[in-house]
């Protein structure tokens, strides 16, 4: 790791200004991904702006919904009664991610900024368009068991590794950001992007912007489940994960919101499946039909072909558990 300049920012404004002065710098919050990447030489910021002292740790109910500060710690959000009671899907997603220690370090904003865990991205001696644009995609014809089946490009088939983000996508959250040009809001589903021709860009943050928080609108979802299928029982990234949130009245589905993790460069909303489910009764048959719709357009790259089969199974399973059919 190169040595770098380290400064502590005392306000959001100061943080943004500090970054503007050194464009090869970056923010550091929990550090759980950034320090890892710096150790492996994947990234080498020359200035780190420690933002941990910024007043962005709140978890509070507002008229707009639940406001979570960008620096709220994953484990604290997960254990927060407001979250557990009113947004159980988010709490479940947090609990499924990483380890107790990492959840004590990782922040909500940092979780959103996580880089893909693609091996080719991490190994600087192998090609990766995301790390080094133009070098090629090592995973495309390489080991791609963990990789995307939706929305990939021939430049990049990496997936976003977060669990939290999958739940936030399903919960229709909004991201608040601050930057040199002021503050703005980004729909959570628009925050992360697909790789296209620019896999080096993970999200739609503008240069110099900082995440200040997320807002989850109040919801009427009364059936929630976060299902994560992985290679071991804990402390592993998802092969497939499904965030399922439904409003069910009697047997009838009034609202449905579904997102998947481990399948795309961003949390993948299953809009066709959601549309199908609204107005239907909560049955395994309907869940299966929804899953079939959800998987349309999916593409395997070899080692990850199993995901084409596992994805619909996971969708049905998550819906069955959420609705108590299983």
């Amino acid at each position: 790791m190169i040595n770098f300049e380290y400064i502590r920012a005392s306000s959001v404004k100061a943080a943004v200004e500090a970054l503007a002065k050194n464009p090869t710098g970056g923010f550091i919050a929990g550090g759980t991904n950034l320090i890892d990447l710096m150790k492996r030489g994947v990234t080498a910021p020359t200035r780190l702006i420690d933002i941990n002292n910024l007043p962005l740790k709140q978890v509070e109910e507002t008229s707009a919904g639940l406001h979570i500060g960008a620096l709220a710690i994953n484990s604290e959000v997960s254990a927060n009664d407001l979250v557990k009671n009113n947004y159980p899907l988010l709490s479940m997603a947090f609990a499924a991610g990483a380890s107790a220690q990492l959840r004590n370090m990782a922040t909500v904003g940092g979780n959103m900024m996580q880089k893909t865990r693609c091996s080719y991205f991490y190994d600087t001696a192998m090609p990766c368009n995301k790390r080094q644009p133009g070098s090629g995609c090592g995973a495309l014809q390489g080991h791609n068991r963990m990789h995307a089946i939706f929305g990939a490009s021939d430049k990049c088939i990496a997936v976003h590794p977060s669990d939290m983000c999958v739940a936030l996508a399903a919960l229709n959250a909004t991201v608040t950001v601050s930057g040199p040009k002021g503050e703005r809001k980004i729909l959570f589903t628009d925050f992360h992007r697909l790789p296209g021709d620019k896999p080096e860009l993970d999200n739609t943050l503008q240069k110099g912007e900082i995440i200040t928080g997320v807002i989850i609108p109040k919801n009427t979802f009364n059936k929630n489940h976060y299902l994560k299928i992985r290679d071991r029982a804990s402390y592993a990234f998802a092969l497939i994960s499904v965030a399922a949130a439904l409003e069910v009245s009697g047997d009838t589905i009034k609202k449905a919101s579904l997102a998947m993790g481990g399948v795309a460069h961003k949390p993948w909303r299953l809009t066709e499946a959601e549309k199908f489910l609204v107005g239907k009764t909560a049955t395994k048959e309907n869940f299966s039909k929804a899953a079939d719709l959800a998987i349309k357009g999916a593409k395997g790259y070899g080692h990850n072909n199993f995901k084409l089969k596992m994805a619909p199974i996971a969708i049905v399973e998550a819906l069955m558990i959420a609705t108590g059919i299983a």
Binding site: M1, I2, N3, F4, E5, Y6, R8, T24, I28, G30, G31, T32, I35, D36, M38, K39, R40, G41, V42, T43, A44, P45, T46, L48, D50, N52, S75, A98, S99, A100, Q101, L102, N104, M105, T124, A125, R131, Q132, A233, S234, Y235
Partner: protein, 202 residues
């Protein structure tokens, strides 16, 4: 030393090696950043750090890039905290920061300004072992002993967090600590017993 000359040399070399279809060992990001490194290193070699470790206050200077783990081991010579992966993937480096368990390999020392750190060396009360340490011995919650400090720090926190209400809960909340010798069932035994017998605060 004249930086420009040095960089010229490297570029010449890279040109030559490109002809041989070679890749640099260092990533392009590093090579690029390294061109500024001499200046940066000169300006920001070390910065002050005030930190309390096991009840003892330290005021010293550290390089920003020094992790909390390496700081504890190599500068404070507290070798009880272990390096098992250095990437946040094993839990051997678990310490408490202001009472919360974290992986010290993924935290920079300078990020812990003003914080209170507890390592395995700070857990016992003099000669009197912490109940969790005693329980690990009684239940043989280790073999080689390398992951043990991390396991014990994690186990104490696991109970303090309220995550030791059942064996299954303990197993999930202790999954951030890998034990390759496979002492897991005994570790769960040790935690359940300590929990049953009460107080565990450090």
């Amino acid at each position: 030393m004249d930086n420009n000359c040095k960089n010229e040399g490297r570029r010449d070399f890279l040109k030559k090696s490109t002809a041989l279809a070679a890749l640099a060992v260092a990533s392009p990001a590093l090579v690029k950043a390294g061109e500024n490194d001499e200046k940066i290193a000169a300006l920001f070699e070390k910065i002050p750090l005030n930190i309390e470790v096991n009840g003892k206050a330290f005021s010293l200077s550290v390089e920003p890039r020094t992790t909390l783990l390496d700081f504890i081991r190599e500068q404070l010579h507290l070798f009880g905290t272990k390096k098992g992966c250095d990437y946040g993937q094993c839990g051997a480096c678990t310490v408490h920061v202001d009472g919360e368990r974290i992986n010290s390999c993924l935290s920079l020392a300078v990020m812990n300004e003003g914080k209170k750190i507890t390592t395995i060396e700070g857990l016992a009360n003099g000669e009197e072992l912490h109940p969790m340490q005693k329980a690990f011995i009684k239940h043989d919650g280790f073999q080689c002993g390398y992951c043990t400090p991390g396991q014990i720090m994690s186990a104490v926190a696991c109970i303090n967090e309220g995550h030791a209400n059942s064996r299954d809960e303990v197993r999930e909340f202790m999954s951030g600590n890998i034990c390759r010798c496979g002492a897991y069932p005994n570790i769960v035994d040790a935690i359940m017993q300590t929990k049953k017998e009460g107080s565990t605060h450090d």
